[in-house]
Amino acid sequence: MKTLTIILTDGPYISQYADMAYKIASRALNVFQVNIFLYLDAVHIPKSGQNPSQFKNSGRLFQELADRGAVVRACARCAAARGYLAEEDGSCPDYLQGIKITSLYDLAEMLEKSDRVIAL
């Protein structure tokens, strides 16, 4: 199976990119191994407790992708700066389950093993 990596840099709601990434990833999961790397402001996407009144809940969409087998990882430097601190296993008490915080070196590894890369 080919691997697709999606890199995101925007947080939820501020732009359409989180929604677009969800739409791509949810279809890609049928034919690709899907990695999603949350970089810069995108580390806000997995925050728990999101309650948008007019938009789809981005956090839940990404949790669904993780549940379906996508590897969703957030940049440790960006996350720590923004107040998301990782436990030893990369999980974060502020994050929805299944999405972990990891070093930027993991992005390089994802890229090395990817057949297709999309930055949104």
Partner: protein, 98 residues
């Protein structure tokens, strides 16, 4: 479909990203342009669209939200993202996103 270059454009006309995307397309041997998000505003440039007959796909929900219609030669697939994924998984394809 071998060696197809897929250009996913989500930025509006006149943006630096849209300009670069279109210039890269001109250097590609087998390009296809996927317009989503604010990228669908590029459909307003009808001359540009006529340059790439049958090579431009537009995302229906993004078109409708913005009050746009696709002109001649532009395809509006029922499931834009499904088609995008199918093209991406094809052997030899490349994806460029702007």
């Amino acid at each position: 479909m071998a060696n197809r270059d897929i250009f996913l454009l989500t930025n509006p006309p006149q943006s630096k990203r849209a300009e670069l995307c279109l210039r890269l397309m001109e250097h590609s041997e087998d390009p296809v342009l996927y317009l989503a998000g604010d990228g669908v505003y590029n459909l307003l440039d009808e001359a540009l669209m006529r340059e790439w007959p049958g090579k431009v796909m537009a995302c229906n929900e993004d078109l409708e939200a913005r009050g746009l219609q696709a002109g001649e030669g532009v395809r509006v697939p029922e499931d834009f993202y499904q088609l995008l994924v199918e093209e991406m998984v094809a052997e030899g394809s490349r994806i460029y996103s702007f």
